[in-house]
């Protein structure tokens, strides 16, 4: 087992462990911090899967911007934990959700049966995203040539989101 | 007071900022030049600074500056004070304690047996000097460094007050500043 395999195992385990921690932690801020750790593990996995651009973007956008905004909101709201008997819904609901999640997992694994535990293609395969300087170029090609329309649509979506948030904030000010 | 109106150039902000930066950097380079010359021993460091290197260099105090008290003396070395209590009465901080006794010379009515000033209470108003009819108390020693490890060091007795050395330290006190 080489260094790459060890790192893959560590970060895969970390991603799963921190995901479970997020679901089970009671304090929202700690849950958010665990989620950040989860995201960093995923970013490392992306880098190991020859997607360094996505890995760095994950850290920049998800961990560096979205989750900071999230923490900002949590701390600003100053949610009191008092008067809340449990972080979870009732036991029946938990059991049902557990069953449903297990079913979901089984279904997905069953559906993914067509992808055997085959080794990943070598990075130098023709058409692969590549690791070096051309990684950015190839992703950009995919993004702006074939996905140009979707890119524009995402731009409109983001603008809509910005306007929506502004409207909500404005109404609060007037009250 | 109305807010002063800013011109357009001032509102652009950057020109004004660069003016300020030019001023501070001019100071920087001028002082750096003088510091360099001073390090080579070519001139005094005073040209590079407006501050005073305090413990080594002291600002000359004006004569009217009110500093630590002293008691003036007659020719024979005894205090001029006649224990009239004018200063203790005038003192707003109530920091002067005088105990009077007979003076052996029949021409003089009284003299202080004890004359204590509690400097931890004194407000340096100088009323005691104004009130004294005999010019027996003055605040012209030029000493301001009244800091001791113990509060008792700040209570000056008659013997100490008769000493007009600005660096004098009460016998019962340990001074904070042991430099010089």
């Amino acid at each position: 087992m080489g260094l790459r395999e060890v790192l893959l195992a560590v970060f895969a385990f970390g991603a799963l462990a921190f995901a479970l921690a997020v679901v089970s932690t009671r304090n929202t801020v700690y849950a958010a911090l665990e989620f950040v750790a989860h995201l960093l593990c995923l970013a490392a996995l992306y880098c190991l899967l020859d997607a360094p651009l996505l890995g760095v973007l994950q850290v920049m956008v998800y961990a560096g911007a979205i989750m900071v905004l999230f923490l900002f909101a949590v701390m600003m709201l100053d949610i009191q934990e008092t008067g809340r008997e449990s972080a979870f819904q009732g036991p029946g609901q938990v059991a049902g959700a557990l069953l449903l999640a297990a079913l979901l997992f089984a279904l997905l694994v069953f559906g993914a049966d067509r992808f055997p535990a085959a080794a990943l293609a070598p990075a130098a395969a023709p058409g692969a995203p590549g690791v070096g300087a051309d990684n950015v170029v190839r992703v950009a090609r995919a993004l702006f040539e074939r996905g140009a329309l979707v890119f524009e649509a995402v731009g409109v979506l983001l603008l809509t989101a910005v306007v929506a948030v502004m409207v909500m904030a404005k109404r609060r000010l007037e009250n | 007071m109305p807010k002063p109106k800013m011109t357009f150039v001032e509102r652009l902000y950057l020109p004004e900022i660069s003016k300020g930066l030019a001023l501070t950097s001019r100071h920087f380079f001028r002082n750096l030049w003088h510091h360099s010359l001073a390090s080579l021993g070519l001139e005094s460091r005073d040209r590079a600074m407006v501050t005073i290197a305090y413990p080594e260099v002291r600002r000359p105090y004006p004569l009217v500056a009110r500093s630590r008290h002293r008691l003036t003396k007659r020719e024979d070395g005894s205090p001029k004070c006649v224990a009239c209590m004018m200063c203790a009465t005038a003192c707003p901080a109530d920091c002067i304690f005088i105990e009077a006794e007979e003076h052996p010379d029949p021409a003089i009515e009284k003299r202080p047996r004890h004359f204590d000033i509690d400097m931890s209470k004194c407000v340096y108003c100088g009323f005691c000097v104004e009130a004294c009819p005999e010019d027996a108390i003055r605040m012209d020693t030029g000493s301001f460094e009244l800091a001791y490890f113990d509060r008792k060091g700040l209570v000056y007795d008659k013997e100490f007050l008769l000493n007009d050395d600005p660096h004098a330290v009460p016998a019962h006190a340990e001074p904070l500043s042991r430099g010089n």
């Binding site: 929202t28 956008v61 998800y62 535990a117 990943l120 190839r138 | -």
Partner: protein, 100 residues
Amino acid sequence: MFGVGFFLALAFALFAVGAFGVLTRRDPLVMFMCIEMMFNSGNLALVALSRYLGLASGHALVFFVVAVAAAEVAVGLGIIIAIFRTEKDVNVDHLSELKG
């Protein structure tokens, strides 16, 4: 061992964990994070499959998912803050009162 199947299994497991969290937690902020976790498991599957199939288009898709997630968080947090300002509490149970 670390074939594409491994990463797909990891992605599915993360998806299931996220789904479990959404269904059971009361705190809407944590529910939010669990939804993000499900987004991310999709991203992981996309990256792994891109690597497997030697395509860059999976990476482009991940870009779009991240952008959508950012929009979702912005609006979602705005809604949660707005609710908190009026309700002084963000328990999901209380929010069911919004039902018409």
